[in-house]
Amino acid sequence: MPNNSVENGATATGEAMGHSGRDIKELGKTLLQIGTLLMTSGANSRRIRTTIDRISEAFEVSTELLITHRALMITIHDSDEDYHHSSLKRTSPHGVNFRMLSGISRMSWRVLDEGWSLRQINEEVGRLVALPHYHRLVILLMVSLAGASFCRLFGGSWLDMLVTFGATFGGLFIRQETVKRNFNPYLCIFFGAFVASLIAGGFLKFGEGISEHALATSVLFLVPGVPLINSFSDLIDGNIMNGIVRSVNGLMISFAIALGLLLAMLVFQL
């Protein structure tokens, strides 16, 4: 793509009614940023489309969107069709962040109801991007507790739960560290699964009274719940392409988990 920002129409004739070409361009940029933030935070295609449409409605412009996993494309024009603006934006690496989804959803309604200006929207988006995540220790402890709960639900004993807790803690820690060092995302999941099942497998092999449930549930913190559920909701909604892309992504993640689990089982000859 030689230009990713093309302006057509009567920009040269100066100010027309409503929006100027510059306004349209700025609005398009903001809308694209909102769209890519939604995509990387784990929204399905319908949510991205309705949110962008809602904000466009407030500004009395019409927008057309092309939504894909790795890039978003927008064409925006005002009601008189005097100004057009098209641009394309690549999405950053995906990481589920529901606080972002919630914040953008609330913002889009306030834009419509309270008539926010573009500057207010940009400020709010900046604020949402800067919002902190939970403390790392809180995440580690709560996800490990979730792993132990899984173990209990599948019929594990208290001892199994303890093993799963430790395995999940170690696996998630390694995953966070590898993500920080910018490894390939599937490789990060592989490392996490390998370490978690290595810990659980070690206890299963050498410990007394540990059942298989501990090993089976130690890698469950990695299950690609959001990609798979979003995949089906996109497919149901008719966004077949996005649905397929998301399901293949989910399958790749499952494959990485299986590979880590396999390697650990090979190590201990389970």
Binding site: F98, S105, M142, S149, V223, I229, I236
Partner: protein, 164 residues
């Protein structure tokens, strides 16, 4: 079925849901609701399985309940429904079936074809299909209220109207 063990399982379902909620960085105000929804969905699934619905339809029932509760939660906590629904259904994700399918596949790819090869094939296919169908029913159950009401946003859904 004992009520006490049912309640205990509900607590674990809720905790598993919260763990994922924290991993997905949900707003703090939604956590307690997610715990309740995860617990209620899980208990619904267990009760349905006890009645004899089968694991796929039971998961669908649990996910459907979570789907409807998520609309209510979205109204009262001012967040989109999926923020409540996705962490709540994750404890029902068929991890055990997927794990057994994977073990089966490894055995099938082994060096020799043993006498029990047919049994392993049957078990692997059974576990794999269950995993896929449960996943589909979870996604469908969560989307159910939006599909039934044919609305673009949960904000337009009036729960009282649906309930009569």
């Amino acid at each position: 079925m004992e009520y006490l063990s049912l309640i205990e399982k509900g607590i674990w379902f809720g905790l598993a849901a919260i763990g994922f909620a924290i991993l997905f960085n949900v707003p703090t105000r939604t956590i307690l609701v997610i715990w309740f929804m995860g617990a209620l969905g899980g208990i619904t699934k267990l009760i349905c399985m006890h009645i004899g619905f089968g694991v796929v339809m039971s998961s669908f029932a649990g996910a459907g309940l979570i789907g409807f509760l998520s609309i209510w939660a979205a109204h009262s906590k001012h967040s989109p429904p999926m923020i409540f629904a996705i962490p709540s259904v994750i404890p029902m994700v068929p991890g055990a079936f997927a794990y057994r399918m994977m073990l089966g596949l490894i055995k099938l790819a082994g060096d020799q074809i043993g006498e029990d090869y047919d049994t392993i094939v049957a078990e692997t296919i059974n576990n794999g299909l269950k995993a896929i169908f449960i996943l589909m029913s979870l996604a469908f159950g969560v989307a159910l209220p939006m599909l039934l009401t044919r609305k673009e946003s949960a904000k337009d859904i009036r729960l009282k109207k649906i309930m009569g």
